[in-house]
Symmetry: C2
Subunit: 135 residues, 2 copies
DNA sequence: CTGTATCCTTAGGGATACTG
DNA sequence: CAGTATCCCTAAGGATACAG
């Protein structure tokens, strides 16, 4: 994505997925496990198609996501998280928990947050298992 | 910082501190507890002074950091994390742990990472207590 | 030392049309 | 449906000078 500024793991991580869109793509894949191009476009934040294409390519290049043909419809392509992407779930979870303290949480996310708050480690373990499973 | 794209806590969080520099400022304040303007400028990533000024202002506006006069030298100003900023430590910690799996960690950070990996919750608790303490 | 100000360049992004 | 391509604009960023 951008050139290397330092050896700091925070800085290097941000250079891979630290823009305003990549983590939203990862969020979609965490919530829905598999997404088509069109499903990303339909997300609330309304990403532009050219931006989406560059971000998906960057995440593919960095091994965070992968893609495959849709089992039923060969015209559709499904994006999904690799293990490297799945391992970003704890980051997403912690951002959610911070947001729970300092932002207004929409109703359709409250259930998820309750689950996370009840037992964070168990939630992450379950989510990782779910996202790693085939089908 | 930018206009609101959606109600998603991830999206809203990113709009506050999801640029390429804010988390590095927060990282510096987590590692050193208090920093002067000049100390931020000296960080490896070499942030430009105009960018630094806008980011500090944004973090001040959003209540993530605060500032005060240096106790010894009234010409110096010290920036530090508020509780809202301190509560971002788990996010930083998880990014570090992800980086530990997938990036090359420089020697001067390995000790910190060992501490985190030994007992994450204890590390966070200690860090929060340290950053909350006066002096 | 802590910022502002300015200039200039580049990257990110919105809108929309279009192709296999 | 899954992208490419184009145009155009704005925000982000680097360099540097300078002011209180």
């Amino acid at each position: 994505m951008s050139k290397k500024r330092s050896d700091c793991p925070i800085s290097c991580s941000l250079e891979i997925w630290g823009d305003k869109w990549s983590l939203l793509i990862i969020r979609d894949l965490m919530l829905k496990k598999e997404c088509t191009y069109g499903e990303f476009l339909k997300a609330d934040e309304k990403i532009a198609t050219n931006i989406l294409a560059t971000r998906l390519q960057n995440l593919l290049d960095n091994g965070i996501i992968d893609k495959k043909d849709h089992p039923d419809n060969k015209l559709k392509i499904l994006y999904f998280l690799t293990q490297k992407g799945i391992d970003l779930i704890p980051v997403i979870v912690e951002i959610n928990l911070w947001g729970d303290q300092y932002l207004t949480i929409p109703d359709d996310r409250k259930k998820l947050l309750e689950e996370i708050k009840k037992d964070k480690e168990a939630f992450i373990k379950r989510a990782k298992a779910y996202l790693s499973s085939k089908k």
